[in-house]
């Protein structure tokens, strides 16, 4: 007998299948290549299935049991299947009417496979250029090599997750413990959370991931000590890498995007750090939801459908960790575009976030806070200023020490600043600047928290690297831009600037 690998795959499928079906509703996601579509699908699946259960339990009193889980998984799956059938029916109908194959309706309804997406036009535009084609082939081979290496690392993470029960710190202290309480109670409003006397850490932390754990355990009727829920967290790693690749490919090209994804997969902290893929912390899921929302909002033309998808992902970020609300607001602010289309997309993205914030406020209103930092009170006490300056000398050395640890980062933070300096001219582009600002979001949240916290050194020691992880998607996209600039400089150092952008 081997570890319960099949069970783990089933646990992932519980979210991936409905989420993948749901991508059918969003043309921008539907037209992406299969792996990237699957990554967004997985994130949407966790957001809708676990988020739906969270809402049903709190607002409707629906017990968190097998029937509810199946219903929550079936709803998006059926919606996606219905959308797929309708779309195909439209295509068949237009074909049966004998429509001209070149007519806008039939051409627009079913784009040829592989031609959709931002790279299609470029592929055709450069088809006749021999040197470009050779470079493209080299880039393609590099991307394939990176994909193979990253896939092996992801499989290793999945294997580890299916072999060992949760054994990390915060996972057992907070997230997995909460999952056990709400599973036993059958509700997200478990008495143990609402009773002030109960000894429980961070009782007001949002419960999206614990609800996802409960969904898996209920559907598979698993032993509470089984490592099955860890599969959910392991699957966030390939999702993260594919979102990085997706966002970076649009702005930096295939080779740099693949290197960015591999650089993330190779960082030991991303894999086995406190908050990484082999833990049951919520930092990696938050990085995925925040990053995927950003990529959808910053990529392509502003469309309401992409706004909805991004809004669902940012709403999931709100329900994943407390700082998710701040990051979702930052993502919305950074991706604002003027004009009617921009406003419509913004409204579509903001609506789920606002609804979820109201829902989250309603849920936590019934839970007395204890064993947690009360940041609103600390902020009201007026400690932010001058703490934001005077505490710097306390916590910055801790941050630098953490980033310098070879065992945690293998030199990632020695390499990244040099790349940013060398490729700095790429960072002047407004899109790169927005990603850079988005990457600064989580570290700024950390900075503010350390400035008001009574023991900033201790807090920085245990949380700083997790904030860096939360910024992974925009940060690596920015790095990909810088690397693309570096390659260009190294490949053609003496070429005339006029011919460089041919």
């Amino acid at each position: 007998m081997t570890a319960d690998l099949a069970g783990g795959l089933g646990a992932i499928a519980l979210f991936a299948v409905p989420g993948f079906a749901l991508t059918e509703l969003f043309p921008g996601l539907r037209r992406r290549p299969l792996p990237r579509r699957a990554a967004y699908g997985y994130l949407l699946g966790v957001a809708t299935v676990a988020g739906g259960l969270y809402a049903l339990s709190h607002l409707g009193g629906v017990p968190l049991r097998q029937p509810a889980v199946w219903a929550a998984a079936a709803a998006p799956a059926l919606a996606g299947a219905a959308a797929c059938l309708l779309r195909r029916r439209r295509v068949w109908a237009s074909a049966r009417r004998g429509a001209d194959p070149a007519s806008p309706t039939s051409a627009g309804a079913q784009p040829p496979a592989g031609a959709a997406g931002p790279d299609a036009g470029r592929t055709q535009a450069v088809a006749g250029d021999g040197s470009r084609t050779a470079a493209r082939v080299r880039g393609g081979r590099l991307a394939i090599a990176c994909a193979v290496a990253a896939t092996v690392i992801c499989i290793g993470v999945f294997a580890e997750a299916m072999t060992n029960p949760p054994h990390d710190w915060d996972g057992r202290m907070t997230w997995c413990a909460q999952a056990r309480y709400i599973r036993a109670a059958g509700t997200v409003d478990a008495a143990v959370l609402r009773d002030e006397r109960s000894y429980i850490s961070h009782p007001q932390y949002p419960l999206l991931l614990p609800v996802a754990q409960v969904a898996v355990l209920e559907v598979f009727g698993a032993d509470p000590d089984a490592p099955l829920p860890r599969a959910i967290y392991a699957a966030f790693l390939p999702a993260l890498l594919l979102v990085i690749y997706d966002g970076a490919r649009r702005v930096a090209g295939r080779a740099s995007a693949a290197l960015a994804a591999l650089a993330a997969a190779a960082a030991p902290f991303v894999i086995r750090g406190e908050g990484g893929a082999e833990s049951t912390y919520s930092d990696l899921p938050l990085a995925c939801f925040y990053g995927a929302g950003l990529v959808l909002l910053l990529g392509g033309r502003p469309r309401a459908a992409s706004g909805w998808a991004a809004g669902l992902l940012l709403a999931a970020a709100v329900l994943t960790k407390n700082e998710g609300a701040v990051l979702a607001a930052l993502a919305l602010a950074l991706t604002w575009r003027s004009g009617r289309a921009g406003a419509v997309r913004f409204a579509a993205a903001a609506a789920p976030v606002v609804l979820v914030l109201a829902f989250f406020a309603s849920w936590r209103a019934g839970i007395p806070n204890r064993q947690d930092e009360n940041y609103p009170d600390i902020l009201q006490a007026g400690h932010l200023w001058p703490g934001i300056v005077t505490h710097v000398a306390d916590f910055v050395p801790v941050m630098l020490d953490k980033m310098n640890r070879f065992r945690h980062w293998a030199g990632f933070w020695w390499m990244a600043p040099v790349a940013l300096v060398a490729g700095r001219s790429a960072l002047r582009h407004p899109l790169a600047r927005r990603y850079l600002a988005a990457a600064a979001g989580p570290p700024l949240v950390a900075w503010a928290a350390y400035s008001v916290h009574p023991t900033p050194v201790n807090l920085a020691a245990v949380t700083w690297e997790r904030f860096l992880l939360q910024a992974a998607v925009p940060l690596l996209i920015v790095l990909a831009c810088a690397w693309a600039e570096v390659w260009r400089r190294l490949a053609r150092p003496t070429a005339s600037p006029a011919g460089s952008d041919a």
């Binding site: 007998m1 081997t2 690998l5 092996v152 690392i153 290793g156 294997a159 299916m162 072999t163 029960p165 054994h167 710190w169 057992r172 202290m173 413990a177 056990r180 309480y181 036993a184 008495a191 143990v192 006397r197 109960s198 000894y199 850490s201 000590d225 089984a226 490592p227 702005v251 930096a252 090209g253 290197l259 591999l262 997969a265 190779a266 030991p268 575009r337 293998a410 030199g411 990632f412 020695w414 390499m415 040099v418 790349a419 060398a422 490729g423 001219s425 790429a426 002047r428 582009h429 407004p430 899109l431 831009c481 810088a482 570096v486 260009r488 400089r489 600037p497 006029a498 460089s500 952008d501």
Partner: protein
């Protein structure tokens, strides 16, 4: 944004002077070095994890024993049998708070509700403990550091033990199993 090139790295290429090649070579070299060190390590580790998973013959209980030790797992299982899932208990921190002993025991005993009573070395008399009681729970679990087995007491026995130890002038240190 409308008129911008999709590739930021190309956008200002025509209008800006190129900086020297040295920073670019340094960046490429460091990236290569980083990947050369980190990727093989990651692949090697992943290979080991996959081999372990394929050869894995453990039940969840055996995996717990491997990770947390036999004595800890036995103690947890014994407390789980003694305390029904719906029953709460009083939690006492018997070791250093820095080791997270109460967190691990609370997780392993969940969904049983824990009510924190305090640190063992701060509980100096039965009277003081009674003043701290906020819930009428019949059992006390004393958690120690990582991998050290927790101990289950009847509340009455625990209070007696606190008084006895206070009289003897020492901390509670009952033999394994003797006070359950």
């Amino acid at each position: 944004m409308r008129a911008e090139s999709r590739h930021p790295s190309r956008a200002r290429f025509a209008t800006r002077a190129r900086p020297g090649r040295v920073p670019a070579m340094a960046a490429a070299g460091l990236l290569g070095l980083y990947l050369a060190v980190a990727v093989p390590k990651g692949l090697w580790r992943a290979g080991g994890e996959v081999a372990d998973a394929v050869d894995d013959h453990e039940s969840p209980d055996q995996a717990r024993r491997r990770l947390f030790g036999d004595s800890y797992t036995d103690a947890i299982d014994e407390i789980r049998r003694a305390l029904p899932a719906g029953e709460g208990y009083l939690m006492v921190e018997g070791g250093s708070g820095m080791l997270g002993g109460t967190y691990w025991v609370r997780y392993d005993l969940a969904p049983r509700r824990a009510v924190y009573l305090g640190r063992l070395n701060e509980l100096t008399s039965a009277q003081q403990v009674r003043r701290r009681l906020v819930a009428n729970l019949r059992h006390v679990v004393v958690a120690f550091g990582s991998h050290k087995p927790p101990r289950l007491y009847d509340r009455f026995r625990f209070l007696q033990e606190i008084d006895r130890r206070a009289r003897a002038g020492s901390a509670v240190r009952g033999g394994p199993g003797s006070d359950r």
